[in-house]
């Protein structure tokens, strides 16, 4: 169940046209973009599957939002401009924390990792969406907005606007936007860093629309032209298998839980950072960044590290 006005549904023709344009411009040497057909197929099929998965859980999510709204603190009118302005910031801040949680805790990473498994960064990557977000329960983070008094349909529309905004930033065709734009808004440059697997760029730039949250909370890392982004995840997947792409981290969690020997291990495997292990033998973003820093110190570049 969705509101009658769904920005994402309305934007689908634009998505298709933009992908066609990106491919054609790259084909004729007018823009930078790389497409590997099997990678693009995986991304697009994950987008399609995500829509179907959303149909299965969307009703329950919307019903929960309505229930919370019935117990709201205030009644915020959907027709007031100030309400949309406040919601724009509140929803974007919610998105920032959802996104940060989805990278820094394995249970939610298991759902979000799908979006990062492509080794390419083009407009199809934007559509590589999770199938298991409903199960992971990150939608709970948006319920406080309805509890405050924003109508669930209003919240859903703003979430849709945010998703549509984030489509165009998944490209290498745009190098930099004007400085004022880069300072305030999420851009292709900022989001390339977010999709990079270079240790220096890990766990950064979680913004949805406004990059100011990353600047405020210390997770902003600018793109350094001297170190081009290498895309994907730390351990890139060995195949284009669609189901492996969707479920590999959930399967990994299941295997780890089956081998757990204590409640501490269960909690660590579920809610520790991705890569957590009881003996510290696996790699987390923290350990990868620490080793990278150590290497840079040896090379004498330590002073300028982010």
């Amino acid at each position: 169940m969705k509101p009658a006005f769904d920005p994402v549904q309305l934007a689908i023709p634009f998505f298709v046209v933009a992908i066609v344009l990106e491919v054609l411009l790259a084909r004729f040497g007018k823009a930078r973009a790389h497409y590997e057909p099997r990678d693009a197929a995986t991304s697009l099929l994950m987008g399609l599957g995500s829509t179907i998965a959303g149909l299965l859980t969307g009703g329950a999510v919307f019903a929960a939002s309505l229930w919370v709204y019935e117990h709201r603190l205030f009644t915020i009118p959907m027709t007031a401009i100030w309400a949309w302005v406040v919601l724009f910031f509140a929803e974007d801040l919610t998105y920032y924390w959802f996104h940060r949680l989805s990278h820094e805790r394995r249970f939610w990473w298991a759902s979000h990792v799908n979006h990062h498994s492509s080794t390419h960064y083009n407009l199809t990557t934007a559509l590589r969406q999770t199938w298991t977000g409903g199960v992971a329960g990150t939608w709970l983070l948006w319920l406080p907005l309805s509890f405050l008094g924003f109508p669930p349909a209003m919240v859903a529309i703003q979430k849709g606007i945010s998703l549509v905004y984030q489509f165009w930033i998944h490209t290498e065709a745009v190098r930099r936007m004007p400085a004022w734009f880069e300072a305030v808004l999420n851009t292709p440059s900022h989001h390339r860093v977010h999709h990079a697997r270079n240790p220096r760029y890990l766990d950064a730039n979680y913004a949805g629309i406004l990059i100011i949250w990353d600047r405020m909370f210390g997770t902003f890392i600018p793109e350094d032209d001297a170190e081009p982004c290498r895309y994907g995840i730390v351990r890139n997947l060995p195949s284009f298998n669609l189901l492996a792409n969707v479920f590999h981290e959930w399967i990994g969690i299941g295997k780890d839980l089956a081998g757990s020997r204590s409640p501490r291990e269960v909690i660590g495997y579920l809610f520790g950072p991705p890569g957590w292990s009881p003996d510290g033998s696996r790699e987390t973003s923290h350990t990868l960044k620490a080793r990278w820093r150590a290497r840079e110190e040896v090379r004498g570049k330590g002073a300028s590290l982010p």
Binding site: R27, A33, T124, R235, N236, L237, P238, S239, F240, R291
Partner: protein
């Protein structure tokens, strides 16, 4: 399932097929020429910055690399227009047996199948 939804899904599936076809026609994958020793070492340095490859074995089709770094085997193999990187115990990797011109590295996560061509297996120069 109502008709509108069915039409939407079929339309989306058709759009996916057309876009994938377009991307195949455009031939704009990353350039990834066959690996030689210089390219293989550069790739190894990028993927395994904490390890120094002592010797490098390149598969017969120049699409995979096995390098020794102490007790570790550093393995790279082609996936699409890029490479997958994994490490495993050297002794487990070189214990794999060739079958019909290929060797399947079961000890490596992802179990890549490397084409031998004229190359000897296990990699003598890398084991030396």
């Amino acid at each position: 399932m109502d008709n509108a939804l069915l039409i939407q899904l079929l339309g989306s599936a058709l759009a996916v097929a057309l876009l994938v076809g377009l991307s195949a026609w455009a031939r704009i994958a990353r350039p990834s020429p066959p690996l030689d020793e210089v390219a293989a070492r550069a790739l190894l340095a990028e993927e395994f910055p904490d390890h120094r490859a002592e010797a490098v074995w390149i598969a017969g089709d120049a699409a995979a690399v096995v390098a020794r770094a102490g007790d570790l085997a550093l393995v790279l193999w082609r996936k699409g227009d890029g490479y997958v990187a994994r490490s495993a115990a050297w002794r487990d990797v070189v214990a794999a047996s060739p079958v019909e011109g290929r060797v399947r590295l079961a000890a490596v996560d992802g179990a890549p199948r490397l084409r031998l061509g004229e190359r000897a297996w296990p990699p003598l120069e890398a084991a030396a």
